[in-house]
Structures are given as C-alpha cells and as structure tokens.
C-alpha cells in the first residue's frame, strides 16, 4: 500500500503549491470578497467545508467513474454541496450569509475545487483525499485572510471588523482598530486595489521563497565545509 506523507500534503497546499499564491486559481472569489479579513475567513471556511465533502464523495465513487463522464459528475456533486452549504448558512449563520450571500453560489465556479477533485480526489483513497481537501481549503483560507487583512488594514484601518457575526460574540476581541484616526484608503477596498494588493503579495511570496532558498543553500554549503 502506498504511503501518504500528510505533512507534505499540508506543506504543499498551504505554501509551495498554494491555490492562490502558486497555482493562481480561484482569483474571482478571492478578489471579490477580500475587502475585509472577516469576509475572507468566512468564505475560506465555507470553501474548505465544501472541499472536504467533495473530496470525500468523489474519492468514494472513484471506482464507479468512467473517464467520459467524470467531469459532469464532479460538477454535479460540487454544485449540490454548495447549494446545501448556502441553505445551511442561510438558516443558521444568517448574518454572515447576508454579507457573503452573493459569493456562495460562486463557489461552484471555484476552479480550485474541481481542480483538486480531478487531480487528487479521483485518484486517491478517501482519507488522503479528505486531508488534501482540508489542506487545500486551509491554503485558500490563508490566502483570503492574508489578502483581506492587508486590504482591510490599509483600506479602512480596521482588522477583522464584524468578526463576531461570524464566530460569535466571544470573538469580538479580535476586532481590532490598529489606526483609530486613519481615514482609510478607498483604492485598496475597490476591486482594482484587490489586484494591486494581490500583485504585491505574490511578489512578496516570490522574494521570500528566493531568500529562503539562498539562505538554505548557504547553510548547507557551510556545513559541507
């Protein structure tokens, strides 16, 4: 039996092969909701939930699939899961649903989910598939929160505003206002600002990666000496 390196799955999906920062997928929901960290976190978590279930279902029906109709079946399952998530949120997380409502149906078109279904869940047993779903979802959430956080701090001077709507009143402590007198920078909140900040973050990740690589090389070089 094949061994699965779960640590590697997480590392790859969270960082080196992150859906947003490396694969550049799912940018539409990313840019649309990230005018605040809370929205990003909310959409990220829903996407993760959808992803876990889609990975699970798809890997379970894997032996039944034929190559000709696999894509329509993936889409059908993902669309159903998203609709279920939409209804459940509307019923029990109504406030958040009001904020994110418009973007939830768009999760269907999130190519990251279909991408993982096609490239991982349909080729692996259910447990690694679920782990992969969690890891990819968290990687996406991480990207959403990071971009949302940057845009919120620069654009409106707050961080995690309205987080208590999402997580309950206990979490109102994480609603921060780092710059109380800050008047905000509208550009960053607007869609164009999303593109700009995404560009900044992407180049930041590249720089960091290059830096780490060089540092690692130097270190191993020293050790050999």
């Amino acid at each position: 039996m094949q061994k699965y390196n779960y640590k590697e799955i997480f590392k790859s999906n969270m960082w080196s092969n992150n859906v947003v920062f490396a694969q550049m997928l799912a940018l539409c929901p990313l840019l649309a909701v990230t005018n605040g960290a809370t929205n990003g976190l909310g959409l990220g978590l829903i996407t993760t939930a959808v992803m876990i279930f889609s990975s699970l279902l798809i890997s379970l029906i894997r032996p039944l699939l034929t190559p000709q109709i696999r894509i329509p079946i993936f889409i059908l399952l993902i669309a159903a899961l998203v609709t279920i998530a939409d209804l459940v949120m509307n019923a029990w997380l109504h406030e958040l649903h009001k904020v994110l409502g418009l973007f939830i149906p768009l999760i269907v078109t999130n190519c990251a989910i279909l991408g993982r279904a096609e490239s991982y869940a349909s080729k692996n047993p259910w447990f690694p598939a679920v782990i992969d779903g969690i890891a990819t979802g968290l990687g996406f959430t991480f990207a959403l929160v990071l971009l949302g956080g940057f845009r919120e701090v620069i654009g409106s001077g707050t961080l995690f505003a309205n987080a208590s709507l999402l997580l309950g009143d206990n979490f109102s402590v994480i609603e921060l206002t780092p710059f109380p007198e800050y008047r905000g920078m509208l550009l960053v909140i607007l869609p164009s600002g999303g593109f700009i900040m995404l560009g900044v973050l992407l180049s930041g990740k590249r720089l960091l990666d290059t830096f780490l690589k060089n540092k690692y090389k130097e270190q191993s070089h020293c050790q050999v000496k």
């Binding site: 029906i61 039944l64 699939l65 399952l77 609709t83 279920i84 019923a91 909140i189």
Partner: protein, 212 residues
C-alpha cells in the same frame, strides 16, 4: 465496489451512473431544503421585525403588521407593503421600493404614517461604491435618518432635492448620484401614497366622510 470493466464499456453505463448520481444529489438537496426551510423563514421574519422596529415607533400600532403581506400593482410597479394598525385602523404603512443608483439597484423600505409624514426610511441592499455612495446605509452614516418626520409639504417640492440641485438634502463628497436617486425615490413614494391614500389606509366612503 469493483465494477466489471466490460460493464463500464457499455453505452448504457454512463447514462445509468449519471442518472443515479443525479437522483442521489436531488434527494440530498430535497432533504436539506426541508430541514432549512423553517429556520430560513424564521430568520427572514426576525430581520423584518428588526427593520420594522427601527422605522415604526411602537406607540402607533398594536397589531402584528408582518402577519399579512400585501401586494398591489400601482403605476406599473408591483409593490409589496405591510399595514400597521392601531385598533384595527391603519396607522402607517411600510412599503418596499427600489430605484437605480450609480451602479445598480438600491432596494429600500419607506414607512409612511397615516398623516403622510415619513416615519423612517432604510436601505435594504445596494451596490454603490464603498466609501462614497454607501453612506446611504444606516451603519455608515446617519444621513438616511434625516428623512424621518418629513412629508410632501415639509420641505416643499423644491426642497426635495440634494443641496447641489437647490434642495435641502446633503450630498456626499464624490457621490451625488446615489443620494439624488434616494431622495427622488422617497419623494415619489410619498406621492404614490398621497394619490392612493384611501387604498393604502383602507378608507371606505363612510370613514372618509367621518374623517372630514
């Protein structure tokens, strides 16, 4: 769950599989819908109640306005509204209306007292520019509260415009179209109320005369 490769090759297999999955998905959706229908309706009602409490003072009605929803076509638009009653007499109406703002529809709620005075206006949803046009939201600025207490005669017709157009309503820096659209829509709703007053207030010939 190993399916014979030969069966998989047959023409009917994909059709059968697709059908089976569609059936599974449909039953899942049906189940979720049934489970969530009631909570969703409850949430929506709670939300409406909250809105109504914001625009109608408790002292002017003693019925449950939300128990009956009315619908009426007036001037080619289909309006949804609720009647608030005091001792079975309509004391105010809450009417849902919408207008086009700078970038799409602005849905709003206008509460008008029996006298023709505005009891409150709220924005339900909009897609105006964040930071500029979104000051029509109660959360962002108290501009929308400035409508409370106004009527068709206070201010007069010329006053029902943004300051830039010679009226008495503030416009926001960088966004004139949005407040202009809202002011116009509120004014038109008031006129609609005036011209259909006896319908909205359920006045019959007899009560009309009594009123006089």
């Amino acid at each position: 769950m190993i399916i014979n490769e030969k069966i998989k090759q047959t023409l009917a297999y994909p059709a059968f599989l697709m059908g089976a999955i569609a059936l599974l998905v449909c039953s899942l959706l049906l189940l979720t819908h049934n489970l969530t229908a009631q909570p969703i309706a409850d949430r929506q009602r709670e939300e409406l109640t909250k809105l109504l409490n914001q625009v109608l003072p408790n002292s002017i009605y003693n019925n449950q306005p939300l128990n009956q929803k009315y619908q009426k076509e007036l001037d080619g638009h289909n309006f949804i509204f609720y009647r608030a009653r005091m001792n079975n007499k309509v004391s105010a109406i809450v009417i849902f209306t919408s207008t086009s703002g700078y970038s799409g529809e602005i849905a709003m709620l206008v509460a008008i007292k029996e006298s023709g005075e505005l009891s409150g206006v709220r924005i339900l949803s909009h897609t105006e520019t964040p930071g500029l046009g979104d000051k029509i939201e109660e959360k962002k600025s108290d501009w929308i509260l400035s409508f409370t207490g106004l009527s068709l005669i206070n201010p007069d017709t010329n006053g029902w415009a943004v300051k830039k157009d010679g009226g008495k309503f503030d416009a926001f820096t960088g966004a004139t179209i949005t407040p202009r659209a809202v002011v116009k829509e509120v004014y038109e709703t008031l006129e609609l109320f005036k011209s259909n007053r006896s319908f909205f207030l359920e006045l019959t010939e007899a009560t009309k005369n009594n009123g006089n």
